[in-house]
C-alpha cells in the first residue's frame, strides 16, 4: 500500500466485515488490473482514500474542504462535490465527488444489473460504493469532475438508469419491501414509491423548494423504512375493518406448535408462550380477550399497533379494507428541534393512479413552496403557521385523530367571521355603557 495505515489496520481484526480490508482489496484489484481497464481516475484512489482517512484518525479532524458544487447539465442536484484539503499528499482523492444513483423500490436487484453498474464505476470512478445511502440511493463514492457527464451519459443511454436527488428538492423516495415479501403490507409500497418517483421527476431533479423534502413508504405501522422519523411526508399502511382471526392457529400458538414472533426470541429461554401475558395484556388499548380457548378482539378499540399480529403472524392477519395514513413534518433537530410525522390523513385508499394521495402532496407543496422560508422544513412551517393552516390548505376537516391531546393553553384564535359582530368594535358604542 502507498501509505502506512497503522490505526486503520487495527480495524481489520474482529468478526464484523472490515471496510478497511475491503478497501485494501479494491486497491489491489485496481493495482493489478487483470481486466486491463482503462481507469479514468487515478488508479491509486483507494490507497489515497485510506491515506487521508488515516490522517483524519490521527488528527481527529476531517480532511475534506467545505462544500462543492458540481453536477450534470439539466439537473440541479444528484452529485455531491468534494475536494481533499491535502491534494498534494493525496492526489488520488483531490476530486472525490459522490454520485447518487436512483435505486429500485425495495432494493431488489439482478446480478446482471449490478455487474453493469460495477463495470461502469470501476472504469470511471473509484470502485467504492455505499449500498445504500440512508435516503435510499445507490451511492458511488469518489470520481472527478470530468467523469460526471460521462457517467451520466452511460447511465442513461446504456443502463436506463437515472440519478437520485440532492439539494432543496424532492429527494429519492424509498420504501419497505412491502407486498413483495411481507404479509403485513397493506398496500403496494413499491408501486406507490415507483409511481410517485416517476411522476415527480421534475421536482426531484431541479430544486424548486424552500428546502429538501422526502417521501417514504411503509407497508404497515412496523415502519421498516422508518418513514415516520425520516420523511417529510410519511405513508404508512393500515386497514379499517377487522383483524382476521384464525382460532385454530391461535390454538397452535397456545399449544406451543408455533414459536411466538416467528421465533424472533428463540435465542433465549422466555418460558412457554403465554398468550395472556404476551399478547392480551400487552395490547395498548386492552381490546383483546382470551377466554375458554378463544381469542376475541374488539376491533372498534384496536389502534392497529401490530403487536398481536407481530406475535402470532400465522393466526392474526391484517384486515381486508386497506389503505394508508399520511403523516407530515418529520425532520432532524436542525434548526428548531427534531420532529416525527404528525397524522394528517388517517385513512386513504392506495389505488392507482393514486389521485387522492397526489392531491394531498400537491396541496402541501403549493403551501410550503409559497410560505416556506429559505431552508425551512415542512415540519417547521407547520410549527410556525400552525397545523390548522395545514388542514386548511389540504382541505382536510379537523378531527380528534389529529391530536394526541387537546391544547391546554387558552390562547385560541378565532376567525373574524366565526365571531358575532366581527373584530371591529366601536369604542364609543362601548363607552355608552361603560364610563371611563
Amino acid at each position: 500500500m502507498k501509505h502506512k495505515t497503522p490505526l486503520l489496520d487495527q480495524l481489520e481484526s474482529g468478526p464484523w466485515p472490515s471496510f478497511v480490508s475491503d478497501l485494501k482489496q479494491e486497491a489491489e484489484v485496481r493495482a493489478k488490473n487483470v481486466n486491463g481497464v482503462n481507469y479514468q481516475i487515478p488508479v491509486d484512489v483507494c490507497e489515497d482514500l485510506l491515506g487521508v482517512l488515516e490522517l483524519s484518525f490521527k488528527h481527529k479532524r476531517t480532511h475534506w474542504k467545505h462544500g462543492g458544487i458540481v453536477g450534470v447539465f439539466g439537473y440541479g442536484g444528484g452529485v455531491i462535490g468534494r475536494y481533499c484539503d491535502q491534494p498534494e499528499m493525496f492526489p488520488g482523492v483531490a476530486h472525490f465527488h459522490t454520485m447518487r444513483i436512483s435505486q429500485p423500490a425495495g432494493k431488489f436487484y439482478t446480478s446482471k444489473y449490478l455487474k453493469q453498474l460495477c463495470d461502469l464505476w470501476q472504469f470511471r470512478g473509484s470502485g467504492i460504493t455505499n449500498m445504500h445511502g440512508s435516503t435510499g440511493d445507490i451511492i458511488w463514492i469518489g470520481t472527478t469532475t470530468p467523469q460526471i457527464e460521462e457517467i451520466f451519459f452511460e447511465l442513461t443511454h446504456t443502463l436506463n438508469q437515472d440519478l437520485g436527488g440532492s439539494g432543496s428538492n424532492l429527494r429519492t423516495p424509498s420504501d419497505c419491501i412491502g407486498a413483495a415479501r411481507c404479509e403485513y403490507a397493506c398496500y403496494d409500497t413499491q408501486n406507490l414509491c415507483h409511481t410517485l418517483t416517476n411522476d415527480y421527476q421534475d421536482e426531484l431533479h431541479r430544486p424548486a423548494f424552500p428546502y429538501k423534502f422526502k417521501f417514504k413508504f411503509d407497508g404497515c405501522p412496523n415502519c421498516c423504512v422508518a418513514s415516520i422519523a425520516r420523511s417529510d411526508m410519511s405513508f404508512i399502511g393500515t386497514w379499517k375493518d377487522d383483524i382476521r382471526l384464525d382460532q385454530k392457529e391461535v390454538k397452535a400458538y397456545v399449544g406451543g406448535e408455533y414459536a411466538p414472533n416467528a421465533g424472533a426470541h428463540s435465542g433465549r429461554d422466555w418460558g412457554k408462550f403465554d398468550i395472556q401475558k404476551e399478547v392480551v395484556a400487552l395490547c395498548p388499548t386492552g381490546c383483546m380477550r382470551y377466554e375458554g380457548g378463544k381469542l376475541e378482539i374488539n376491533n372498534r378499540e384496536c389502534t392497529r399497533c401490530m403487536h398481536c399480529i407481530n406475535v402470532m403472524p400465522r393466526a392474526l392477519r391484517i384486515g381486508n379494507d386497506r389503505g394508508l395514513s399520511i403523516l407530515v413534518g418529520a425532520k432532524a433537530p436542525i434548526l428548531d428541534g427534531a420532529q416525527m410525522g404528525s397524522l394528517l390523513v388517517p385513512f386513504v385508499k392506495a389505488e392507482e393512479p393514486y389521485g387522492e394521495i397526489k392531491e394531498v402532496i400537491e396541496a402541501v407543496w403549493d403551501w410550503w413552496m409559497e410560505e416556506g422560508k429559505n431552508r425551512e422544513r415542512l415540519g417547521e412551517l407547520i410549527k410556525r403557521q400552525g397545523f390548522q393552516k395545514l388542514l386548511e390548505v389540504t382541505n382536510i376537516k379537523p378531527m380528534p385523530q389529529h391530536v394526541k391531546e387537546p391544547r391546554s393553553n387558552p390562547y385560541i384564535f378565532w376567525k373574524e367571521d366565526e365571531v358575532e359582530g366581527g373584530f371591529t368594535g366601536d369604542i364609543n358604542e362601548f363607552r355608552k355603557y361603560h364610563q371611563r
Binding site: 447539465f73 440541479g76 439539494g167 432543496s168 429538501k212 413552496m369 431552508r375
Partner: protein, 105 residues
C-alpha cells in the same frame, strides 16, 4: 486557488469555478463562464437573470430563493434551466459572480 486567464484578465476561482470575490466580476467573466456552463449564445434573458441576481445580492447579501428569482424575472424554473443548463445555483449564480451555494446540496 486556481487562476484562469481570459480576455487579458486574470480571475481567481475555487475548484468548482466560482469566482473568489464578488467585486472581481465583470462581463468578461460572464463570457468566460458561459462555455463551461453549456451556453452558446448569451441572450437578453441571460443578462436579465444575472442582473437580478447581482442586484438582489447587493441589496440582501444572499442569493434569492428559487421562487423569488422566478417571480422577479417572470421565468419559470423550466425556463431558467433552458437558459442555464446547470440550474440557478451552479449556472446562473456562478456567472453572476455570487458566492458558491452552500448547505446540503
Amino acid at each position: 486557488m486556481p487562476e484562469v486567464q481570459f480576455a487579458g484578465k486574470t480571475f481567481v476561482t475555487d475548484e468548482d469555478g466560482f469566482i473568489d470575490n464578488y467585486t472581481n466580476w465583470s462581463q468578461d467573466w460572464v463570457q468566460f463562464v458561459k462555455k463551461e456552463e453549456g451556453i452558446d449564445e448569451l441572450s437578453a434573458e441571460h443578462q436579465q437573470v444575472i442582473t437580478v441576481l447581482r442586484e438582489y445580492y447587493e441589496k440582501n447579501g444572499i442569493a434569492p430563493m428559487v421562487r423569488v428569482l422566478s417571480k422577479v424575472t417572470g421565468f419559470k424554473l423550466k425556463h431558467i434551466y433552458e437558459l442555464f443548463p446547470s440550474g440557478p445555483g451552479k449556472g446562473a449564480c456562478k456567472m453572476a459572480g455570487l458566492p458558491k451555494p452552500t448547505g446540503c446540496v
